[in-house]
């Protein structure tokens, strides 16, 4: 039997992120991925979840130096995506359960996809 896949995207404010993620966790959704997109000086961060092939996407838009709270307290496995987000895009993420402080992905150039920190400055994860 074929299952219909649906994808929905909703925008969330920074202060509502944790609450929205907790609601999805309580609703039985699994974390699929966290991914960043450079949208011309700012970042769009997609937090993707899935339950029975129903794809829910929380979209957060932040400036380049805005600290983003970790969701690894809710989804333990989020640390891989959040460290990646920090190491490739230079986005400071606070409170990651396993924080590699910029050494998870060891690129030749620090923060290679960052709009403001490309080339590197010290890790700013709190």
């Amino acid at each position: 039997m074929t299952v219909n896949e649906e994808q929905t995207t909703i925008s969330v404010a920074l202060e509502d992120l944790t609450r929205e993620v907790e609601a999805l966790h309580a609703g039985g959704y699994r974390l699929v991925q966290i991914g960043c997109t450079d949208i011309g000086g700012a970042y769009e961060i997609n937090y993707s979840f899935d339950k029975d092939y129903q794809y829910r996407n929380l979209r957060l838009t932040v400036g380049p130096d805005i600290e983003v709270p970790s969701i690894s307290g809710i989804y333990w496995g989020a640390f891989v995506y959040e460290n990646e987000m920090h190491d490739l895009f230079g986005i400071p993420v606070t409170g990651i359960n396993i924080d590699f402080k910029g050494t998870f992905i060891r690129t030749a150039q620090k923060y290679p996809f960052s709009v403001t920190r490309r080339g590197g400055d010290p890790c700013r994860n709190a």
Partner: protein, 359 residues
């Protein structure tokens, strides 16, 4: 309390030709904690999407991995086709399905060989790879490439498989399945294999789901999740039911892959029997403007290509989440409790592909 020591595993290790590093915290011989590191060969292929036209990026997507290369191309093409509203001809969908399942076959047979090697079962390793060679021969015969097929394109496929060749493939499936069942019988029923794998590094169903496990790693823990159920390509016509085991140990992860080999052979057989006549592609007009999270079930699990077009010939963004990245947190949870000597087998049980992860 025993003294704790840290033993580095990788990035160069005999069981893994690709670099992943694990800091294993040990008490005597027992693993009590694990810290993973990746990123030794990060290639930044996602950023190339801004320098290659959207029709050309298929070649880059296909080179993300040397095992599931066709499926990366398929996932990318399906994403672009969804954004542009392109309906692919039915024959192309069936050909995509046949090549996808050939990819899954050779990937699982590769893994079964490596897994046997990791257990020290050299003869089983060689038998598995011998069978894999015949799948690679079919891929080479039908696409021209063993590793990179280059047949998937936006709007359809580049090459057809003629009826005579399809009939030949169909005739070869029964003896091939018989040989696969011979080695599958050893993986599933041999006492030494069972003794080595059963009860090793158990991941419960709840843990697998909560940690975001995908593919055989999730299905071996009882999570009935396989993206082929959504019916992409020709899976909707062929009908599909995921292979699920419930024990959640290394044996179950092996059993899922063995049974998926049989399932792939059956899918190829039915696809050959049902493939319709018709065109191979449609003409692609315009440029992609929009976004889509394209998902495909690779041998290691669900892969995601997030694609975003802004109406130009270059996509604005491609973000690729590969199954191995999703299976790293489950690996970190399943290793504690294992003996140091079992670590290579446990790491192999998620079928790590660092080439994919370091896209």
């Amino acid at each position: 309390m025993p003294e704790r020591i840290v033993v580095p595993f990788g990035p160069q290790h005999p069981v893994l030709p690709e670099p992943i590093h694990l800091d294993l915290v040990l008490e005597d011989e027992k693993v009590v904690d694990v810290i993973p590191s990746i990123g030794y060969i990060h290639r930044g292929l996602e950023q190339l999407v801004q320098k290659r036209e959207f029709t050309e990026y298929v070649y880059v997507a296909e080179r993300i991995c040397g095992i599931c290369s066709f499926m990366h191309a398929l996932c990318y093409c399906q994403g672009v086709e969804h954004i542009m509203g392109i309906e692919v001809p039915d024959r192309a969908k069936y050909l995509r399905t046949i090549w996808s399942e050939c990819s899954r076959l050779h990937s699982h047979l590769l893994w079964l060989g490596l897994f046997a090697d990791g257990m020290g079962f050299e003869n089983l390793f060689m038998r598995s790879w011998q069978l894999r060679e015949s799948v690679l021969d079919v891929l080479e015969d039908t696409t021209g490439g063993r590793v990179i097929q280059g047949t998937c394109k936006v709007g359809g496929v580049r090459r057809d498989i003629e009826k005579g060749k399809l009939d030949e493939m169909h005739r070869a499936l029964d003896p091939f399945e018989e040989k696969c069942r011979e080695i599958g019988d050893v993986f599933l029923n041999d006492d030494t294999v069972k003794y080595r794998l059963q009860g090793l590094s158990v991941l419960s169903k709840d843990e697998a789901y909560a940690l975001g496990a995908v593919g055989p790693t999730a299905r071996a823990s009882g999570v009935p999740m396989d993206h082929r159920e959504t019916g992409y390509a020709a899976y909707g016509d062929l009908g599909f039911k995921p292979v699920v085991e419930t024990a959640g140990d290394c044996y179950a992860r092996c059993a899922v892959r063995v049974k998926e080999v049989y399932a792939s052979i059956d899918l190829i057989r039915r696809a050959i029997e049902q493939i319709p006549e018709g065109p191979l592609d449609v003409k692609v007009k315009g440029t992609p403007d929009g976004e889509y999270f394209s998902r495909v079930e690779q041998p290691r699990g669900e892969v995601i290509h997030y694609l975003r077009g802004d109406g130009t010939k270059h996509l604005a963004r491609a973000r690729i989440r590969t199954p191995t990245l999703a299976n790293i947190p489950p690996l970190v949870k399943m290793l504690p409790g294992a003996q140091l000597a079992d670590v290579p087998v446990v790491v192999l049980s998620i079928d790590p592909c660092i080439s994919c992860t370091e896209r």
